[in-house]
Assembly symmetry: C2
Homo-oligomer: 233 residues x 2
DNA sequence: CGCGCAATTGAGTTATATCAAATACGGTGG
DNA sequence: CCACCGTATTTGATATAACTCAATTGCGCG
């Protein structure tokens, strides 16, 4: 597997100040003086599809703020079962549990080309002591993750298989900025919904026959959100 | 339904300082000086089983720290489906979403006799500005809620019905301090696991026939955790 | 062009939901 | 204290949905 690229040009916070998506990331509320408190390099990293930011059980010492791409959080059970418990995209944080000194709760696996900034826990903790401006950002992201998890339970782990698939497609569609959205493999969709690959495939195939779902390329798709919502939710 | 009792004797933080379970609640890390920053009354409240702390969609302006009892968080979908997404007990916080100015994500319903302290959001926010000692407590509780939600997905919403019931019983057992634990109604257990009341009943009945589960009183039960774990997880 | 993996499809099996009935249980009032 | 009522639970029969297994098709990539 190819090693992830690290662009170490981001020394200190010089480029953070001018980050194109600063309004979306954790540092959005920092002031100019706050940025001057960042004395250590922040690594800008890129990962290929399939690469992992970290593994479940790994002792991680950084939080990752996601600049681009899509990441799945996979949780394994002792008996071999596994479940995808969340998807992360632009503006989200991966590895939040490191702020409590816990080991990683999940594998963080890239679904497509992913760009992140790696923020050492020590930096976050120091900033927290020196400025209150990080707080609300952390709180917001924690809350977003939590309400995402709740929705995952209520919408994606409840009801019949077709219904769950429909809800997942709607969720992926809403999260997308353009008309199309990232369509995971049937296996991954199954792991998100707690159903088998075959059941997922049967549902998407049916939607496609009804003209409610169209595939474009291999990982992109379009849905008729209105119709899907009405007929299957 | 009986009105909840509010013991308004807790003026300011006088009694907070001497709270018997202070080491378990949000204010555990506050210093003596910090307590002096609390200038408003903190209500000590008691709720009967079945009463709600708040409703999904309600605009809440307080967080509740749980001193005793068990609370279920119930989330409703537009189509009428509903799911219990979490259980809260001593030391947990209910209504965290109010800190982001959001309306309540769930109904918070008491399962047994519940005692809470009501902490106004304005108080939390002021304390956050004035002292850093609240932070870690908030972070810890948010993280606990999040990892609880993840487990709910992976352990309680995955696999066959009997397996889920077994995992739920083990979880309830572990959370308990004594040999026995609170056994929810079959209906509630079903709503936690995403299965029907009847399926839940068939599973518990089977465990009981095998001598792995014994009921005591109506809401209390005992399990042979070892055997249950080995045979059904 | 063909190889390999992913996706689709179908047939048969199993698990769960559904519906209905019977039983147990707690709480109330006589 | 006991009888009764309403609710929760258990149980069984049947229908339905999902899983499992196997075979086929489709598709991207070398």
């Amino acid at each position: 597997m190819q090693i992830d690229k690290i662009d170490r040009a981001w020394r200190g916070a010089e480029r953070c100040k001018h980050c194109a998506i600063r309004h979306l990331v954790l540092f959005s509320d920092l002031t100019h003086e706050d940025f001057d408190r960042i004395h250590q390099p922040i690594d800008d990293m890129e990962f290929e599809p399939g690469q992992r930011l970290y593994y479940q059980g790994e002792n991680i010492s950084s939080v990752y703020t996601i600049r681009a791409g899509l990441i799945k959080l996979v949780q394994h059970l002792p008996n071999g079962d596994r479940r995808i418990v969340r998807l992360l995209s632009q503006g989200d944080l991966a590895g939040l549990e490191s702020l409590n000194g816990q080991v990683a709760d999940h594998d963080a696996v890239c679904l497509d080309l992913v760009q992140v900034c790696r923020l050492p826990v020590s930096l976050i903790q120091r900033l927290q002591k020196e400025t209150p401006n990080l707080h609300q950002g952390l709180i917001n992201r924690w809350q977003k993750a939590l309400s995402g998890a709740d929705n995952w339970i209520t919408r994606l782990s409840t009801g019949k298989a077709r219904q769950r698939v429909a809800r997942l497609l709607l969720l992926l569609d809403q999260a997308s900025t353009d008309d199309f959205f990232f369509l995971p493999t049937r296996e991954d969709m199954g792991a998100m919904l707690g159903i088998t690959t075959e059941s997922t495939s049967k549902a998407t195939a049916e939607f496609r026959r009804l003209g409610l779902l169209k595939k474009l390329g291999q990982n992109r798709a379009w849905i008729d959100a209105e119709a899907l919502q009405q007929q299957f939710c």
